[in-house]
Chain length 336, copies 2
């Protein structure tokens, strides 16, 4: 079956070279990205895509969020370079790359809103947002104009987890102990951000905003019971804030907002989790994605495993088509 991979990562050349020159690029980031050639080598990536039948990718930039790498004096310029680079690749290789998403200089919020508009006008099919901007949550007021631009465009947000520098596993430890933050903390961060989009009323303000949460909604589908029953009781644990009034002032039951988000299938080939996430979001709100090339084989592993897992799950043909490509065509506004 035709497959469009909605969330996977690639660094265009100029942006890649620039990030390797940053302090982070000289340390862990450089170690990590140099070790995965398909993250920046276009020829290799083209061959990787070709190795799967009837398969194409919507490209997103690699992490970390750019505001970690450059100050606000430099980040708007780097965002343009990054987005023009990715757009150019997608334009040159439409059979391999069905589309692309833009990144934004979130440490320069006004420039970020302008860049969102520019990139979306220049053909970006989505905007990739990290779950926080150097530790500032996405519902901070300075980011509202960004949501405004994206909501108006009709294009979706690809929500990618990012740890806050200040969010270690335990507060006394500077380094993420045992890499727990990236392995387990990222999907938690995604869930936190979805909750904040709901309770800050951004979703009430922009009801048509489409948010695709990486890794099949973070941990939301597994916590369906809590998302339902516990958020229904919001307010009973807290006396410092009037969360009961907040809850009652929302336009919908908290649970309903979470069901309206979208998830992708990038769960490293875990079948039971895929079934659980599909049950939660439904076939209309799940998109195929692999998180390529972060598998052990540095490219094909998660694509192959995710295709295999989906093939093993009983679905109607209509549901399967939606998940594998139709939802992507609709959400990203791709030519069918």
């Amino acid at each position: 079956m035709r497959t469009i991979d909605a969330f996977n990562h690639f660094f265009p050349k100029l942006y890649y070279e620039a990030l390797l020159e940053t302090p982070a690029g000289n340390k862990d980031l450089g170690k990590r990205v140099r070790g995965i050639p398909a993250l920046s080598d276009l020829d290799l990536r083209l061959r990787l895509v070709e190795s799967f039948d009837d398969y194409s990718q919507v490209l997103s930039h690699g992490l970390p969020p750019m505001e970690r790498l450059w100050g606000p004096d430099k980040s708007p310029e780097m965002a343009k370079i990054a987005n023009d680079g990715l757009g150019e690749i997608a334009q040159k290789h439409p059979k391999h790359f069905a589309g692309w998403s833009a990144l934004l200089p979130m440490n320069a919020p006004e420039a970020a809103a302008r860049e969102a508009e520019r990139a979306l006008n220049n053909g970006a099919n989505a905007v990739q947002l990290a779950t926080n901007a150097n530790g500032v949550p996405l519902d901070a007021p300075q980011f509202l104009p960004i949501f405004e631009v994206i909501a108006k465009s009709g294009k979706p947000i690809l929500l990618h987890p990012a740890r806050t520098r200040e969010m270690p596993d335990y507060p006394t430890e500077k380094v993420s102990k045992y890499e727990i933050c990236s392995v387990l903390g990222w999907p938690y961060e995604t869930a936190v951000t979805l909750a904040r989009l709901v309770f800050s009323k951004i979703m009430d303000q922009y009801p048509d905003l489409k948010v695709i949460a990486h890794h099949l909604g973070g941990v939301i589908p597994y916590l369906e019971g809590r998302v339902g029953h516990s958020f229904d009781q919001m307010g009973v644990r807290t006396s410092d804030e009037d969360y009961e009034s907040l809850r009652k002032s929302l336009k919908k039951r908290p649970y309903d907002y979470f069901k309206e988000f979208y998830g992708d299938t990038a769960v490293e080939g875990a079948r039971a989790a895929t079934v659980c996430g599909l049950d939660f979001f439904g076939a209309d709100h799940v998109l195929f994605a692999s998180d390529c090339p972060f598998d052990k084989e540095k490219g094909p592993g998660y694509i192959r495993d995710t295709i295999k897992v989906l093939a093993s799950i009983p679905l109607s043909n209509a549901e399967r088509e939606k998940i594998c490509w139709r939802n992507a065509v609709t959400l990203f506004g791709l030519s069918n």
Copy 2:
């Protein structure tokens, strides 16, 4: 079918009265617990248990962890009062309460190890540990003697999530914004603690230690792919610590340790999550639990919903018996 509820909460009288007199008891905690009578009213609780067929509970104390409520000068004494109180209730009402778990004064680690030994000798069927002790992770060296005592006893740990005071959703905010920490953060905390028990090598040191992780393993089963593939790559993201050597020095693949933990079915009646968790842990490592009385009805809701969910899942009779009561009999050492 006979059902033993492995994880649910009750405050014995003297302990309950004492906690209401603490500063927390005068604030949010008091507001919360007074609002749920079945948490401390024994007659009500007995009637609640009787309202289900062939159903009994292994009682655990309510949260928060006692080290939040009393200093180390007072907590060892309060632990004795709490444990003797719960033990007495279980002894008086064996048809209603198949067993009970002890709590420990974790801010007085030496006294905690002694109390674990005393309580286990006095009939405690398990020890309930919170995932951190006032923000100190359970793998801190001062807690090792506690694990030693529990491992020797053969009885399991009931691992309950607890937020650290210092772990807000974002570091600039003192209060858990929108109650995200308790709703979504607790299952994450559980997963963090399981990971720390693995990577600190406590599980290598005490390979027979049995850990029952509340809420069906926190978020671990949904993150099965990451627990497998991402922890297999531990070390590639970090240069400050040699996590590659640590990983290689473990006796097993990280994933295998997580599969050997136990989970309970307390997921607020979410069917897809129950299926996902059962798939991960298997019928030999899942125990029925309700988290009673924290449902909206303040008692019967989660028991009824969880029984219903399990009944709807296709299982062999042998598997169903294990989950509903046989695993509890074995792990808690109950009279069959």
